[in-house]
Amino acid sequence: MRPDLLNHAPILIILLFLGGAMVAVLAGLLQRRLAQPWAVGITGSATLLSLFGLARVLQEGALRYQLGGWRAPIGIELIYDPLSAFLVVVICAVSLLVLIHGRRIVPEEIPGREVPFFAVALMLIGGLCGIVLTGDLFNLYVFIEIVSLSSYALLGIGTKRSPLSAFRYLVMGTTAGSFYLLGLALIFMRTGTLNMTDLAEILPFVSGQVPVLVGLAFILVGLSLKAAIFPLHGWLPDAYTDGCSTATALIAPLGTKTALYAILRFVFFVLAPAYGAGAAPIGTIVAYAGAAAIVWGSFMAMSQKELKRMLAYSSVAQVGYIALGIGLGSRYGLIGAVLHILNHACMKACLFLVTGNLRRNVGHSYLPNLDASVRREMPWSMAAFCVAAISMIGLPPTAGFFSKWYLALGTVEAGQWPLLVALLVSTLLNGVYFFRIFEQVYLKPAREGASGREARGEAPLSMLVPTLIFAVLLLILGIGNVYIVTTFLEPIWAGVL
């Protein structure tokens, strides 16, 4: 790979996605069969580029890309440091597998709309990369809005109910955006800058002033609303339940995580110089909100009968884990949070892909009706489901165990015993709701003719392979977690201080 190309890596990744969407609409309206290969090609090349970029960032240190040639507080800059480079790789790789999975299921679920669907999906991924890469607070708002708009549209098609859920999501999302903008206005009034690094230098001089504090509160509430942290999670379950399979599998693992990343970036890189690592009172609130989310989400997930809805509630809980890690504000907390962003993206994507497989080939994903016939018809999909579910519970060989382990270490280190209790309780609750499914699928005998519709056997290869790759990835990530932590995550903590 040419080195000068890698100098432009952060902007090229964003441009690949956004430009790819534009070209798809410009040229692809007639050839709708080419839409999915085009989207996969774009995402694949972006994944390659992000991998090379990550290697370079780890070798040569962070890159601050000055757009338009204007130096930092004047122009907008992209920050390509180990944290953002790592997350861009995660976003690109996960969405690549999900888009491959969409080859058969998108034309079946929403016939005739492949071109706009994949164009909007590309813009969603581009916007996610933009959120992760940008170093400017207003630019962050613009990318958040790109992501939000695409999510509303992607979740608004599918079933009869989905437009209503998407509209509710839109109302909440716009409230969040407005809060963020309002807080940013207050900060701007007192500092005059929008650049994150510049703001981090100015904040210690104005840290006690009322407008700044109120502004920070508004920004954090807005971002928490986007990230669906516990008391603000109301929009999430409906929106995820009613979306079509590929849209949910794309948005659930990545959408809320990037909002969490924005909180992480804000707390660790902007607030830390003025308020100390973890930004003491704010961090504690975030951590306890996370703990509440973990318990509440797990309880709600236990009582659900629809698989997709159960997974949506478990997303609320998983967001809680990451918020808890961010709120701890320590080394273990940060490592646990970032590792859990990666692990949860893989687990949730895997589980939602299996749900898509079930919906296509069994015709439903209603939990009481799942029985041993599913296992016989779709052995590989159910195997992938098991691996992902074990990882969600957090049992040792899989990836989920290790991020929980780091989070638990962080709580012990900080002496926050209630948070540790929340972590342990949630493991039990996760066990309850996933073992219920294991029991039905693997231990109960099949009830003949109960599922109502003739099953269609195992999912086609284009759907099965990405699902299995996720399952294998979860095992690899679990076994190789030491390598990931020392190679990729330790430099992130080094960049904070």
Binding site: A21, L30, I74, P116, G126, G130, V142, T191
Partner: protein, 112 residues
Amino acid sequence: MIRMPRRIRIPLALLGILCCCTALLFAIAAEPDYGDPHAPAHREVSPGGHVTPGIYYTRNALAEAHTPNMVTVTLADYRSFDTFGETTVVFCGCVCVMLLLRRRRPERSDDS
């Protein structure tokens, strides 16, 4: 979907609004006088030692981009990436509405 009865919903909404508005009014009361040309957002150099963008744009827009309209220069040159994002938002909205509403057509699409 959750359905809140009216007598809970309205007071809850009013309470939330009251909290937000009070916080905002407090923040505003602590602001310097409205319209002060030397407010922190308009000063030359920030305490961090960097130039404040708004004033830099005012001073240099004409010289650096040969354009008297500072807003145009800010929008399309200094912060052009925001504008690129904004154009993408417009395009994205257009494709989103198309995804949601445009009629499904037979394979040969023809709009006339």
